[in-house]
Each structure stands twice: as C-alpha cells, then as structure tokens.
Symmetry: C2
Amino acid sequence: MMKGKMVESLEAAVKASGLKDGMTFSCHHHLRNGDKVMNLVCRTLENMGFRDLTLNATSIHNVHEPVAGQIERGVIRRIISPYIGGAPGRAISEGKLKDTAVFCTHGARPSDLEQGKTHIDVAFIAAPAADCMGNFSGKYGPAACGSMGYIFSDAVCAHKVVVITDHLMEYPLSDFSVSEVYVDYVVEVDSIGDPAGIVSSTTSLTRDPVALRIADYASRAIHASGLLKDGFAFQTGAGGASLAAAAYLREIMKEEKIRGSYCTGGITRYMVEMQHEGLFESLLDVQCFDLQAVEDLRVNPGHREISCSHYASPTAKSCTVDSLDVAILGATEIDTSFNVNVHTNSKGIIMGGSGGHSDAAQGAKMAMVAAPLIRARLPLICQRVNCISTPGTTIDVLVTQYGMAVNPARGDLAERFRAAKLPVFDINDLKMQAEELSGVPNRVKPAGRTVAEVYYRDGSLLDRIAGV
Amino acid sequence: MMKGKMVESLEAAVKASGLKDGMTFSCHHHLRNGDKVMNLVCRTLENMGFRDLTLNATSIHNVHEPVAGQIERGVIRRIISPYIGGAPGRAISEGKLKDTAVFCTHGARPSDLEQGKTHIDVAFIAAPAADCMGNFSGKYGPAACGSMGYIFSDAVCAHKVVVITDHLMEYPLSDFSVSEVYVDYVVEVDSIGDPAGIVSSTTSLTRDPVALRIADYASRAIHASGLLKDGFAFQTGAGGASLAAAAYLREIMKEEKIRGSYCTGGITRYMVEMQHEGLFESLLDVQCFDLQAVEDLRVNPGHREISCSHYASPTAKSCTVDSLDVAILGATEIDTSFNVNVHTNSKGIIMGGSGGHSDAAQGAKMAMVAAPLIRARLPLICQRVNCISTPGTTIDVLVTQYGMAVNPARGDLAERFRAAKLPVFDINDLKMQAEELSGVPNRVKPAGRTVAEVYYRDGSLLDRIAGV
C-alpha cells in the first residue's frame, strides 16, 4: 500500500500541522455518544502541552466528559459550537472556560467558515473509512456513521486537515464523502468510536402515553394545516414525541396516498422506512441517527448525504430547510411569545444548544414545537425563557398533550386547526393550566458573569447565558 | 411544481444576474460537439447588446463556430480557456480577438478560480437535468452527458450561477452533481444539446495499422516499465493510438491477472469495460467521452464523478493526476527536448490547447506521448515546437510506429525498454528518420502580434502564440 499522506501518530500530525497555542482546532460529532476522537485529540493536545486553544466543534455530547478537564486546565479557553451537552456544558456554566463560549447554529457554523467569519487552523476528522491520500467516507468500516455532512465545511475551509481513521482502505476510496483535495495528513488509530453510541436512546419509538398523545395532536395538526399533500417536505427530530408524530403521519400519508418530497436533517429508520414505502421521494441526510439509517445511506440511491451548508446555511443561495413544509422541534422551555429554549435546563445550566432548531424553524412553512406540558413537575411554558435559542417569531405552533397553541401571527393555522376540531388554546391559558397542575415554579436564573453567548443563524446576538 | 428559482427566459436570467459590459461569463463543454448552450448564451448576450466580455470556458469546440462571430464583433474581447478549437481558435490566430487569449490547463482553471486569481461574474451551466431550486445533474435527461466535473468550480466560485436545462425534474433532484447551494437562477429551454455530439470520432477504436503499431509499442513499454502491477493507475486520451494502447494493455492485464487501481480523466467505454472486468478498481471521471460512459456513471458505484480540482488542480492538497502511474498523451509536435505542442497546427494556427495534457504529464510517474512519426507528410519531431504546451522535462517517453525515444533524464526507463527488446532510439535519430521519409519541412511560424499566451499549471508563462 502506498504511503501517501500517512503519518505515524496523531502527535506527528499535530506537529506537522503547525498548531500553536491560541489557535483553533475543530472536531465533529457524527459518531455522537460513540465518538472517541474528540477526547483523543483533546488529551493528545494537553499531553503535548498546548494552552489557550479554541475548540470549534459541530456538537459536544455526554461522551465528551473528559473535555471538561481540558477546559478546567486551560488547554481549551474558548468553544464555538451549536450544541454543548454533558460535563463540558456544565463546566462552562460553572465559569471554568476562560473565554465566553459561542453558540452558533448548525447552519451558521459552515456559513461562518465559508464567509471567513471564523477560521479553523487544524480540523481533526474522525473518518470511519479513509485511504492513504485522505479520501474519506462515513459509509464503511467498523464505526460507520453514514453521513458526514457536518464536516464538509471544516475539510474545505480549515488550513490543515487531519483525517483519523480505524479503517484504512485501498487508494482510491472512490465512494468518498470528502475527497483528498482537502486533506493534509492521515493517521491510523485502533478505534475511532463505538457505532452503538450513534444511537441515542431517543431514537427508539416511545410507548409513553403522553408522548403518543402529543404525537397524535401533532400529526392531526399537520394534516389539518393544508401542507400535507404531494411534495410534502418534512423534518423531525429523534425525540419520543417527534418520532411518534412521524409514525402517525405515516399512517395518514398511506391512507391518503400522499407522496412526499423529502425528509432532511438527522435521519432515523422511520424516515428510511417511509422513503422505502414511497411516502417520500428522497432523504437528504446531514446526519444518521441510527444504524439502519447508516446502512440505508450505503445502499439506497434515494438516500443522499448532504453538506451542512446544503442542509441549513443562511448564506447558501438556498438550502433544504428553506423548502421545508413542516419541522417538528423540541423544547425545554417555551414562553408566551413562543421563544424556545433548548440551551439550558430548569436550573439555567447549559445542557444543549440550537443544533439546527432555529434553522429549521425559520425555514419551514410551519414550525411546530412538540413537548409535554409538564416535565419533571415543571411547566413547559413560562413568561420569558431563560435563554432564547429560537425566536418566537419563527415558531408557529406548540403542541402538548393538553392541546395546542398557535402563534397569534398565524391566525390562518388556528382557524384550520379549529375547523378540524383540534383543541386550540391561547398559550397563556395553556400556561395557566400547567401551573394549576404543577404549581408555579420557583424559577432559578443564574446571575453570574456571562459564560456563553447565543448567536442566531444570521449572526445577530440572541441572548447571553449567565454562569452559576 | 414549485417555482423556486425559475426565470422565464435566458434574457431574464442575464438581466437578473447583473452582467455588465466588460465582465466575465463562463460556459462549459461537457456536451462537447453536441453543445448548444455556449452558442445560445453568446448569441443572447450579443442580442442584448453586450460588449467587451471575457469568456472563461472549460473548452471550446468545432460546434462553437458562431462564437467566432461574437469575437469578431467585439461582444467577446477576451477568452480564458484550456482548449480553443474550431473557428474561434482560428479567429484568435487571425487577430480578431481584441485582447490576448489566455490558455490555462484543466487543473489550473479551477485552481485559479478557487484561489481568486480569476473571477467569473456569471456562470452559465448547461445542465442535462435540474430542479427548480438548481440542484443539477449530468446523469439524466435527453442530453445526459454523465460527469460534470469541469463545472464544479464555476458553480462554487461564480458570483451568479444560471442553470440552463431541457429536463426539469421534481425538487429535490437528490442525485445532484452540484447542489442548489450555489445556484441563483434556473432557465428551461427546448434543448441544451445533442448527446450524439458527445462522442468525438476519436473515441472509436482504430483499425489504422500505424495507430495499432504505436499502440503495440506503447503497451509493451508500459509493461516493461515496471509500473504495470496491482494498483496501477492510468490515464489515456480518446485518440486512436491511445485507445488502442488501452485495448492492448487490457489483454496484458488479463493475462497477468493485474488488478489496477483507477483510471482518471476523460472516460471511454474501454475504461468502463476494463473496470467491469476487474482490471481497474474504479473510474474517477471528470468527463465522459462516449454514451456508454454516460450510462455507466449512472449505474456503476465504482464509476465516480469527480471535480476538475480533484482531477488535476495544482493547488489541491492532492489530486488524481498526482498518483498516476502512466498517462498516454497526444501531440501535434514534439521537439528534441521533448517539449510538446498541442495548441497550434503545422501552420501555427490555434486549433486546440493543453486541456489536462500538462497536468497529467507532470503528475504521472511515466508520461508517454503516443503519436505517428509522420502525419499528413509532416514529421512529428522538430528542433523546437512552435508552441510549448507541455514542458519536455515532464515527458518521459515518445512512442511512434518506428520506435520510441526516452527522455535522457529517464535512463532507467530506456534500460528497461532495451531489456524488453523494444526499439529505443535517440529522439534526434527518430527525427532524422522522419525527415528522410518525408523531407525536411519548410516550417511556418506566424510572426504577427501575440494573440495568445500559454500558462503552465503553476501559473508561469510557458509560451506566446503569434498571430498570422
């Protein structure tokens, strides 16, 4: 086998890359909670003595707990990401990150890179399969993750690109996600991750009666909206109610012989099955949420890997979220102006981020939040969310197990829902109903220094998150 | 069907694009001599009253004869292209282009665009299939051309992108060559071209005994070079001797059970058949040279469309020509320093250009020119070529029907060829032999003003072409 761009270790690649203290590196999350590479990279950089680095990550998950250590010890002083969960999120809330964290959106991240608003000195790419010249793919190898859409912009824009793989294939890997054109170094390691960790617990279909009730209302609301017709374009998350809504929608679409156009965003086996049944023409996949989706991407020509810019970039000449009919989204809090918080938990601690939430909300003709009215004895609806992740102006409908509320700007939808005999309430009334059931919570809002700033997809500052 | 980015006419798209006198537009040649779009665009721009435009084209062919009119009438004052054939080439030689024409290479063209050395204001893309948001593909439709590799950089880098199609498909065209991310306007026309014109006469296998003799020597030289082994990577053109050499190579590879790695560049049915027979792992296709290749690209996962940067960009971190073992190339003239001319004919008139000639010559471990020693009573070999298209330092072997000459820098190859009992001569002796057969020609070199400059893939000036 030719040597190509192979270097003997990650350390050697880092040295060759010219990375210096204070520079920016990037990692990605296609292996989700099975990813071993972000931890490996951060540990390696710490062992090599680096300080004050910026980590620009496509998403940070529970599995990245050790990264909290690199934050605390000053190896990483700044983080840019659309999502920061687990211990790293908590460490930021606790003020352990030297600089303010920057939350972007899935769509804004590649846009900022392509427009030169952000810069990556070295991108570290966990590649399920690669060849010695750096052609890489998410479709093959023991840790196949399917789509690698989130990493396209890093590969194209980063000054140096290091591909890390545990499955070296013969050159040329012609079914590449990203080609050798952009790659500087290739490193072989024992394992880049555990594919079982790709599947988050939320990608299994729920039996929770609350979620099923929400899903029932959600699917009926979509049906009533007038948007569910041939050419229907759809995004839904991997949460219990969202997936169940898709399952109900599937039955309606079958019954009424509706042939949808595409599903986009993260793809689950439910989307795959619906596409196989002819309910959708194609799947435009920026990320596989389970192993069935991974397998399907490998063999199904109607299931296509797309870049994150193609998914949601606000500066693309168009992207898939722009043509969505309906997006079903989650929320940890929603306020009476329909602003949604998916960044902080009830105690104001960072536990997530927008991901593509606000991208899809702005793009879709109908953006629907589907969530239980009460969760862990806390009402979903409040006067003002602790953190604005997605502006209420872009949320059209809230669906809960007790009924739905429609953004006053969308009187047309409220009318359609009422005509379909769906339980439509004023959002203030739903809020009161929740408070009657669980009491008015004693809302905690941290009051420390600003530890994170939340930027909207257009680059404007949406909110600041205070530390505890 | 949704309206998306559809505009009602090419004129409307031009108006919306903001094109102004003196700006640069681009066209491409994937439909080769079947293309109708470059002529349509140039005629439309003339009818709209445009003047002094720069045409940056991926290649200009015989079918583009009318463009000579737009040159003469000052609609086009400058041309940048890797290849200018037919009437436009002649018009340039006759001094009818106001500015000096700029010859680049297939690899340098996208590199220059990506590096910002050249700029395209409006790219006009003839798309065999497209949807209303601009996702487009060369694989479908009545004028399917297969790979659209040459146009990727235009789509990504041009300020405005107009997609012109005669086969509008439902959104989203998920099997896109280039995605909607880059497209501003979509125009539907009756016909973008005649797919029969994709097939140049040279893509049929020759019965010419001279070409067959050359091919025999060429294939035996490749065999003797030591490069023909498992992992062999190969590029050959669509010329008679080149294709015949591939046919002979096919037999050797079968006999010796050699499993090659890839073929790149323009792909013909011979390459397709060899890949099907397991003689090559994959086809990395920047351009389909015949309809069998077009069909194969549609259905064969081992046959992959690649961008022109991936094919040959000198500023890519690597590209497919970098890993070539052998490239078989043509020549209209070669001199005793192995410099090759593919730009001008025996009268010094522009009739072609490098295309990927010098890209492949520099990248390949063995760059072989295969051409008849005498053509139309003119010897192939001269003291100094009329125009240096490819520097002799990058040409390793010349193969003619009377034997071969090896670049003195490659004594290793000469040794191997002699060991294999191949007829190896000093290039000066081959030159004398030709002149004995056909006489010493009275070489014509035009002496007018410089009408074109020839740039190498690294951006350095290789030569100037004088007008007649």
